[in-house]
Amino acid sequence: MQPIIDYITSYLNSNKTPGAAGNFFWAFVYILLVFVGLSVAVIAMNWLERKILAHMQVRLGPMRVGPHGLLQPIADAIKLLLKEDIMPAEADGFVFWIAPFIVVLAAFTVFVVVPFGPTHAITDMNIGILFMLGVSSLSVLGIVMAGWASNSHYPLIGALRSSAQMVSYEVAMGLAVVSAILMTSLHGLGLYGAGGVGTGDTGTLSMIGIVQAQQEQGVWFVFKFFPLGLIAFFIFAIAMVAETNRAPFDLPEAESELTAGFHTEYSGFRWSLFFLAEYSAMIAVSSIAVTLWLGGWLRPFPNLLHGATWDLVFNLFPGITFLFLAALCFYSTARMPKHPYFKIQTMGLAGFGAMLGLIGLVLFIPAVFVRVQDIYWFAIKVAAFMYLYIWYRGTFPRYRFDQLMKVGWKILLPMGLGLLILTAGMGMRSELWIGVVVPLWHWVANIL
């Protein structure tokens, strides 16, 4: 019994991820936590999307199922589970069955390397970002197989268009990512700090290493070499929306165009797997953007607002956030109609608000908020990206398919290439100056 307890508690003192420490039990616990967190996040995203989209369109969204529609995602899940599982008659059985699994597998495996904190990742691969880009490109295979196996023309066209779009924007994503990886190998501090001693030796592809490089250089990569980091971030932000087939790039699955594209023939639980995979992929690529450009788990303004008091203020943010949400719940409770039919809903909303308030109060305890800091800042940044996704859906008109391909190949790809060259030039500018420009100048001056 004692060796087991030692095995479990020995990890808590080490300063590594479970994968690096070789601890299977804690790796399994982290996998379970990520799985549960992801499911809760997808459910919350479902509700948030419908409510926020509705409010942007000056309507209310789901209001009846729970207080303010809070139980709507659960009702949707129950409906999807109980729906009849239809397979088209001439469909290729095995491929039809396995396509949703591949998409879900690709969307979930990516989370093995996502860093929620300096040691809060399931594992930290040396090729972390390469692994994430590669595994998320496997979801294209699932989509192509889904469209093919349905044996009907709308899904086939939708699948071909969707996969062509995803493959095109993967190129632009890759170039933006490389430009950020270049910045990890620099040693100079601050906004325009260029290569120092050992530049070119210390770049890293590991996700935790990228955030630690931002911490060391004291600046988030989105602000580094301003405006180069910002443009790289924008290229990635646009490409990631196209990669996940979301508005305004959702032609392959828009209802007025292709009657839901590659997942037309899927119903019930199989469709919910595609839906789950789409939201997980959104969270995954947002995690990549947050890690590479927005400083991962680092709190904002580490240099400008430093010192013990500012640290305390930023440490209290998690508690303040939950208390703010609880205050919103109580405000909505006060505004509920005072009719006996609404008694259960009012009590439910008040109970939900009380639970949120309790979590907020717990997060004021120093022992708790010190541990939760990293995960909180990471989650807040990813949540900001999710809000951006919903905002795009409510605001922008849809791109036509040829316009979509034009943006991907003719605009984002050349911008990415130029950005890569400029970032490399800015990063190695002193070496370039001494090694190339000065001898060239001397040579030209000697000739003239």
Binding site: N126, G134, S137, V140, V144
Partner: protein, 171 residues
């Protein structure tokens, strides 16, 4: 740092997946099933690369081979209507000669491997191999093999132009 975990189990599992995938590729009637078997084999091969302390090549294999080339294959299988080809005879008339030739090649391999079994003895591996793998590959690729790198990019350019020209309807 960490000793490798259960190496024989993973080796036999991954190599079994590769061999079964390979057999399915060459025997299936439906081209899409062959492509799926090949994808499984390629992913298992990426796992074998990881066991050989080559994480960068494993990442490249997943991104390029499984996520790029196989998508290209699936696209073309869907654009080209293979319904009629699926009902015809699958193996050509010289199948016996083909298998005999492959058998002769296999015999050659077995002879060489049994005779030369002691040429590549095992030795201790240095530690920390996977930490500097990407940097090492980068140093070689952009240093010693820079010329081959430029030629490979030229080859890809030629392949792009060639594929576009071959698949156009009117040149």
């Amino acid at each position: 740092m960490n000793p490798p975990v259960a190496t024989p189990f993973f080796f036999y599992l991954l190599s079994g997946t590769m061999l079964i995938g390979g057999i399915l590729v060459i025997t299936r009637r439906n081209a899409v099933h062959s492509a799926l078997a090949l994808i499984a084999a390629l992913l298992a091969q990426a796992g074998l690369y990881l066991m050989l302390y080559a994480p960068f090549v494993a990442g490249v294999q997943i991104i390029l081979y499984a996520g790029g080339i196989m998508v290209l294959f699936l696209f073309v299988i869907m654009l080209v209507n293979l319904e009629r080809a699926q009902k015809e005879r699958q193996f050509n008339k010289q199948w016996l000669v083909g298998i005999a030739a492959a058998g002769a090649l296999g015999g050659l391999f077995i002879t060489i491997y049994t005779k030369g079994k002691g040429i590549f003895p095992d030795h201790a591996m240095p530690s920390g191999l996977e930490a500097q793998n990407t940097q090492g590959v980068g140093v070689l690729l952009y240093g010693q093999y820079m010329f081959a790198f430029e030629i490979a990019s030229l080859l890809l350019l030629v392949a792009i132009i060639g594929a576009v020209v071959m698949a156009k309807k009117r040149i």
